[in-house]
């Protein structure tokens, strides 16, 4: 009998596991895949290391900062700032027709860029920033306000509004067309006011730290251990049945599998499954290895968010991909002490899961090649053309996302409707991770910690 069984060894599951194991619970993390990480993972291909998932960590505040999400999660996990070895970004940009805004980990940079490109909006931008700083992310009262309405009422230049939404939606909006004001504020702070960073060794360094810590505290991690069923008796999960028919028991179950995905596992046929629409937003990503550092080719930006028309469209594309907008990331362009081994450019574009899924094997392979080229062609309108320097490539599609995360539709940010308190219709089943409400690496880790604290530690403290 475990105290807590956690479904999924991604960032949120591992973080929750560390919290519970640290306070002497008997914890088991069940991972369907043969490797950890979920959406944020890594692999080795033809002799090179690759990261998949997020391009960078958000919420990067300097070493010694005592407030903010990064400081809080380090404290909670008893990790040191140096454990993550985060190097800050060199600088990113938002590129739209006729306007570019640069930003870095000094919030004043973006403010100056806005004042320069949109002089009449400078005061409005300051007002927006003040509203966001004052927004209390622990109260859930404003969660349902439309961010487009709030931002549109403060910033009166439509192009600037679109430019501000583009990076924030790409890095964390599960909802099409709009975000809720709370989510917008959290994302604005984490990207524009705090900043971006990455460990030299990539996401694997963070995952390895988390796993090592979890195991050192006595936590158990089972790989290739997909959950087939959560057996329900009354209002509790009584048994966790694995795909290999092994049966486990636990007082509490914390699932990062996603809301709909978790509900489907419950064998009580609770109608909750149909009450919440699954997410639709998913990506293709191209990865190109270059024989030079991108900076040698004249590209020094860490992340370039691009859009080729005045309006930024954030919705499931009709075709396989929508290449009108995208995110170009160069993992080389962070302020490391030593350069990376290879030059790399990754490009993310919106994609349609259903269209990718219905392809047969041959067509899938062909479309992958075709859309690799189209995505790259679209991106080099905004950065120097690096195509003659490419020595290796890879690409993932929405079906790859499903394979690694198990999330319906490959929805990278999960369902649009979040379960902020993490509760379900069962007394000892809770959700954490993407569908609880926080996204990104820092967000997922925070989600795991918060839900473990609230549902598996707090109530136990006095018993």
């Amino acid at each position: 009998m475990y105290d807590t069984i956690i479904i999924g060894a991604g960032m949120s599951g591992l973080a929750a596991g560390i919290r519970l194991a640290y306070y002497e619970q008997r914890v088991c993390i069940l991972e369907r895949h043969y490797t950890i990480g979920g959406l944020n993972s890594f692999y080795r291909l033809r002799g090179r290391d690759y990261d998949v998932g997020l391009h960078a960590l958000t919420n990067i505040t300097p070493k010694g900062t005592k407030t903010g999400p990064l400081a809080r999660l380090l404290r909670q996990l008893r990790l040191k700032w140096d454990d993550f070895a985060i190097s800050p970004q060199i600088g990113s940009e938002i590129a739209f027709p006729g306007a570019r805004l640069r930003f870095d980990n000094d919030a004043a940079t973006l403010r100056d860029e806005v004042a320069h490109a949109f002089p009449h909006q400078a005061d409005n931008f300051d007002r927006l920033t003040r509203e966001i700083v004052e927004y209390d992310d622990l109260s859930e009262t404003h969660a349902n306000l439309s961010a487009r309405e709030v931002v549109g009422s403060i910033i009166t230049e439509p192009l600037l509004v679109e430019m501000l939404f583009c990076p924030l939606m790409y890095y964390g909006s599960a909802r099409e067309h709009d975000m809720d004001w709370g989510q917008f504020s959290i994302m604005f702070r984490s990207i524009f006011l705090e900043g971006l960073g990455r460990p030299h060794a990539g996401v694997r360094l963070i995952l390895k730290h988390l796993v090592r810590k979890f195991r050192a505290l006595g936590g158990e991690l089972k790989l290739r251990a997909g959950v087939k069923q959560l057996a329900v008796d009354g209002n509790r999960v009584t048994r966790v049945v694995l795909e290999n028919d092994e049966v486990l028991e636990a007082r509490n179950v914390l699932s990062s599998a996603g809301w709909c995905e978790t509900m489907r596992l419950c064998d009580d046929g609770h109608p909750v499954v149909n009450s919440r629409a699954p997410g639709q937003l998913t990506f293709c990503e191209t990865i190109a290895t270059l024989d030079a550092e991108p900076s040698e080719l004249g590209h020094d930006r860490t992340i370039t968010f691009f859009n080729d028309h005045d309006r930024f469209v954030w919705q499931k594309p009709d075709g396989l991909c929508d290449v009108r907008s995208g995110v170009i990331c160069s993992p080389n362009n962070f302020a490391y002490d030593e350069p990376l081994n290879d030059g790399t450019i990754r490009i993310t574009a919106l994609a349609n899961f259903d269209r990718w899924r219905e392809l047969d094997e041959d067509a899938y392979r062909l479309e992958k090649l075709r859309w690799y080229d189209r995505i790259t062609e679209s991106a080099v309108r905004f950065i120097p053309d690096y195509r003659s320097r490419v020595v290796d490539t890879d690409m993932f599609t929405p079906t790859s996302v499903v394979r690694f995360t198990g999330h319906d539709n490959g929805a990278v940010y999960g369902t649009p409707d979040k379960q902020l308190d993490g509760t379900t219709h069962l007394k000892n089943l809770f959700v954490c991770g993407t569908d609880q409400g926080f996204v990104g690496i820092i967000g997922s880790i925070t989600s795991g910690i918060a839900m473990a604290n609230r549902h598996c530690l707090r109530s136990e403290a006095a018993t």
Binding site: K66, T67, R72, R75, Q76, R78, L457, A461, A462, T463
Partner: protein, 116 residues
Amino acid sequence: MRNRPVFRLPVLQILLSCQCLIGKENPGMTSADIREEVLDILKDIAPDEDLTQLDDDKRFREQLELDSMDFLDIVMELRKRHRVQIPEDDYINLASMNSTVTYLEPLMKDIEREKV
């Protein structure tokens, strides 16, 4: 009046522990021991905080960058280290060092102090 210089504490502690060891068979934790223990927990939770200037009368929240998650950790550490159970309704007593020590004294008086 608190705010006494912290560098004196070890001396005071040694004196206290000697007295206890001589005077009693099963020495429980004194308020000074409890204070030390809470300080140790705070050091663990917030390693970057300078605790030497801590004012025992003032709320932790006003002096340290602690949020509700950190307060849970004080409770959980006490449970982990000393098996002290603190119901959620009593968390309010952990606002300052003085209120914490006062609250914990009856709960910890029977706990044997770790051997020096």
